[in-house]
């Protein structure tokens, strides 16, 4: 018996080389150690891995040494006997050993072949894989194109498609909902509060793609918006472009940012307050040198509020007789005096003891309303918005003290109507005639005319004539008393002409100014901070005549409103008080309605 071992190596190209060794004994040791009969060099094989013994001509046995194992016909074993004729497939590490009879002499043949990767050295690390970014990050190109596609789709393709496809956004539906959502990612900034209702659909204003918002679109809603002034005045007063200004104008024109559009001043998408420009420079451009460019103007040049703004010129009533009273603007510098037809000393009402005594005589409910003294708010009530002061009304603000009640007897109190001298006379006449009638009726009640004697009839006739004559006399006397120098009317009113129309004394009409500065906006409410008393601006306590104009001077305003650089945070730009677009005022020609820019330009250019 002998053991024949054949190492088989498959060469590239299908060639097979066989290295045979014959062992003249009946067992061979298998292992990685150099003293083994069959040397299996791979590191997965033990030093002395196993021993293969031929027990008889037909039988063999494999024994694994130590804690090694072998696989025989697929089974992991330490030891296994098997028939040589049947053959066996033994695996030790990467080697496959096939046992079969060598010939008919009872020899055993072991064919050994390396069936797995021969070496444990992993040779797969290609330079590229090890040193590149592979496994660290996805390919740049893939990321780039993915991002590019997503952004173009979400931020460009979808909004553009929806602009053309979406129905009006007030119709419920997915596409309109989507249009709102996606158009928001184009929204450059917060909408102004006045346009907040237009946020849902950009197409409300952006009617045509790649075309600036047109003035027509603005005027669609702002149809009664007026221009700033007459077009010829506007054209004449616009500053002449020269040097840098001309260059800038041509740059703006070149960049397609034309002047004279609604959008030249009103920038949307700049937050809640953004659409009304607060930049005084826009006004100063023309008003700085207005008299040079527009010689007809009566306006004084203005460059800022703190240094170059004229003193206020309140609207002053010089003659209360005209109706409506004509107002003359007189500068506060000239200390204007008003002729409003009213006699009213502020100082007396605010301080005098007589006022306090009078208040003390009032009924309880009125006493609690006024308190011990009068103050400004007792007569001057702010309007609903708190901006201006409500007009003074005699019945509401004066008559609690200045009662027009007259009493002929202790039980009868009559209120005379205010502001209607003819009515006053009628009321008195009615009163005295009624008195006379009652007198007559009281004397001869129940006796009929025909029952009386001729004498009595004559006496009654005389009495009657007397009664009516007395009534008329009483009326005249009362009228004369009321309207006299010491009468109740003359406390507040002047008597222009003692022998006026219809035999009644004519009182000077009262024309109280409602708005001293009609071209400026002022809010009392906004100035009522920190319990600021009225008299800090209106010098009422020292005014003994209603001719005094109690408007503060510009100096007073400038104490807080100072637009010099770095001075104060209180708004002092033009639009704090003034509006650009004209608002219709009585007795003055209004500026024309706003027109689309192109139109306005041609109007302005025609002389």
């Amino acid at each position: 018996m002998a053991i024949r071992v054949e190492f088989i190596k498959k060469r590239p190209g299908g060639r097979i080389t066989v290295r045979p060794t014959l062992y003249e004994k009946n067992d061979v040791t298998l292992g990685r150690a150099t003293d083994c009969d069959v040397f299996l060099g791979d590191l997965r094989v033990g030093l002395h891995h196993a021993r293969l013994t031929q027990i008889s001509t037909s039988k063999a046995r494999i024994d694994a040494n130590d804690d090694h194992r072998v696989r025989v016909d697929g089974a992991q074993v330490r030891r296994r006997e098997f028939g040589i004729k049947d053959g066996a497939v033994i695996r030790i590490g990467p080697y496959q050993l096939l046992v079969s009879p060598a010939d008919n002499h009872g020899d055993m043949l072991i064919t050994i072949e390396l069936v797995e990767e021969p070496t444990a050295v992993r040779d797969k690390r290609s330079e590229e894989a090890v040193f590149s970014m592979r496994g660290y990050a996805p390919d740049k190109r893939v990321t780039a194109w993915t991002l590019l596609t997503i952004i173009l789709a979400v931020f460009l393709a979808v909004p553009v498609a929806l602009h053309f496809r979406a129905e009006a956004t007030d119709t419920p539906g997915l596409s309109s909902q989507l249009a709102i959502t996606t158009s928001q990612n184009w929204l450059a900034g917060g909408m102004s509060s006045s346009h907040a209702n237009l946020t849902a659909d950009c197409r409300e204003c952006h009617v045509k793609p790649f075309t600036r918002v047109r003035d027509e679109t603005c005027i669609n809603c702002h149809e009664d918006m007026r221009d700033h002034a007459q077009p010829e005045a506007m054209l004449a007063s616009s500053p002449h472009q020269d040097g840098a200004g001309k260059w800038l104008a041509s740059v703006r024109e070149g960049l397609s940012i034309p002047e004279g559009r609604c959008g030249s001043c009103h920038f949307e998408h700049n937050g809640p307050t953004g659409v009304i420009p607060a930049d005084s420079q826009l006004c100063v451009d023309c008003h700085n040198t207005l008299d040079q460019h527009y010689t007809e103007t009566k306006l004084v040049n203005v460059s800022d509020f703190a240094r170059r703004h004229p003193e206020f010129s309140p609207a002053i009533v010089l003659d209360p007789q005209t109706s409506p009273a004509t107002m003359t603007r007189i500068s506060m510098v000239k200390h204007p005096k008003e002729q409003n037809g009213l006699t009213f000393p502020h100082d007396f009402h605010l301080k005098d003891e007589e006022v306090a005594r009078k208040l003390a005589t009032l009924p309880v409910n009125l006493r609690t309303r006024y308190g011990a003294d009068l103050d400004c708010a007792d007569c001057h009530e702010p309007d609903a918005a708190g901006a201006l002061i409500k007009p003074i009304e005699m019945e509401k603000h004066c008559s609690d003290c200045h009662s027009l009640a007259f009493s002929a007897s202790e039980t009868q109190v009559r209120a005379l109507p205010h502001g209607e001298p003819t009515e006053v006379r009628r009321v008195l006449e009615d009163y005295y005639l009624a008195q006379a009638t009652n007198l007559l009726l009281g004397e001869q009640a129940g006796i009929l005319e025909r029952q009386l004697s001729a004498d009595a009839r004559t006496r009654r006739e005389r009495l009657r004539t007397q009664a009516f004559t007395d009534a008329r006399k009483n009326t005249d006397a009362m009228v004369a008393r009321i309207f006299s120098e010491d009468g109740i009317c003359r406390k507040c009113h002047e008597n222009e002409d003692p022998a006026g129309r219809a035999g009644l004394p004519e009182l000077t009409p009262v024309a109280l100014t409602q708005s001293y500065l009609p071209k400026a906006r002022f809010s009392h409410a906004e100035h009522m901070t920190g319990n600021l008393p009225c008299v800090s601006c209106h010098l009422a306590e020292t005014s003994d005549s209603s001719a005094d104009v109690l408007m503060p001077s510009i100096t007073k305003c400038r104490e807080c409103h100072d637009d010099r650089p770095g001075k104060t945070a209180v708004a002092s730009d033009c639009l704090t008080c003034h509006a650009y677009h004209d608002e219709p005022h009585a007795g003055r020609e209004s500026a024309p309605l706003m027109k689309p820019a192109r139109l306005r330009k041609t109007i302005g250019q025609t002389p």
Binding site: R32, M133, K140
Partner: protein, 290 residues
């Protein structure tokens, strides 16, 4: 041009000036001038009603910035063709870095400091990230290559891998006489060694956890205790393991350096394309709804 001792075969001088100092900081100077001019004009420009991308100056800044972005992106095409001279790739790169940095100022002025959750600010934010990632790139380009060449010690990448492979073969041979209990360490060192560290694993900890390093340490300890006939082969194997561990450390440092040189580009380049898309959407959208 002054005669230069260092000449290329082509006759052109060899410059040792880096791309940052190119032509005595020519493009740095240009970028500073451009930036200062932009800031000064922004301060004095008569723009109505407030600084904004839609004013005349906003349009100018926007146009300049957009063209600049397109030109900056051209580097990707330009770098594939190396030419010497005034418009050398180095000069181009120098201009790319400095003018790209000035874009940060130009585009910020273009916004008029108005930001929001919209496509316009999206484009701005992407641009800022691209520029900042570029700064990181510039930093690594100046700091890493020297370290890298010191570490590499004239070995090419292929040399490194070949050396590792050769050491594995050596190990395979040298480990044959070893006893089974040592053998596991060696096979692990051969089979389970991962050359490339994880992106977020520091090189030092990748080295500590490496199968080769661990095998080297364990077998070094085992040498002292081994039976006399095992000692010599064990000694030999351990020596190879230690050489391999040292080589692996260098290789990993090299990989890390290369990663640092490239990783920023994985943000810079794709985000540049994202910027191109956002910029397109920005420009079209503002004129679509003019």
């Amino acid at each position: 041009m002054a005669r230069n001792d260092h000449m290329r075969a082509s006759g052109l001088p060899i410059s040792h000036e880096g791309f940052l100092a190119h032509k005595r900081y020519r493009y740095l100077k240009l970028a500073v001038v451009v930036t200062l001019v932009a800031i000064v004009v922004y301060a004095i420009a008569d723009v109505r009603v407030r600084p904004n991308g839609g004013t005349w100056y906003g349009y100018i800044l926007g146009t300049v910035s957009a063209l600049l972005i397109l030109w900056l992106m051209m580097l990707g095409i330009r770098k594939r063709a190396m030419t010497p001279g005034n418009w050398s790739l180095k000069g181009w790169t120098s201009a790319h870095v400095y003018l790209g940095s000035s874009l940060l100022v130009l585009a910020t002025l273009h916004t008029g400091f108005q930001f929001g959750l919209n496509v316009h600010t999206l484009a701005y934010v992407i641009m800022v990230i691209v520029i900042l990632s570029g700064f990181i790139g510039v930093y690594y380009y100046t700091a890493v290559p020297r370290k890298m060449s010191d570490n590499r010690a004239h070995r090419s990448q292929k040399d490194m891998l070949d050396a590792i492979r050769a050491l594995d073969h050596e190990l395979n041979e040298a480990a044959r006489p070893l006893d089974q209990r040592y053998l596991r360490e060696v096979t692990n060192a051969i089979r389970k060694t991962k050359v490339k560290p994880g992106l977020f694993t520091p090189v030092s900890s990748a080295h500590r956890q490496c199968a080769t390093t661990r095998a080297a340490i364990r077998l070094r300890k085992a040498v002292a205790k081994a039976e006399p006939d095992m000692r010599r082969p064990l000694e030999a194997v351990t020596a190879i393991l230690e050489r391999k561990a040292a080589l692996l450390l260098r290789t990993r440092r090299h990989i890390r350096s290369k990663t640092l040189l490239q990783l920023w580009l994985y943000f810079h380049v794709p985000l540049s394309f994202a910027l191109l898309a956002a910029l397109t959407a920005h420009i079209i959208s503002v004129f679509f709804y003019w």
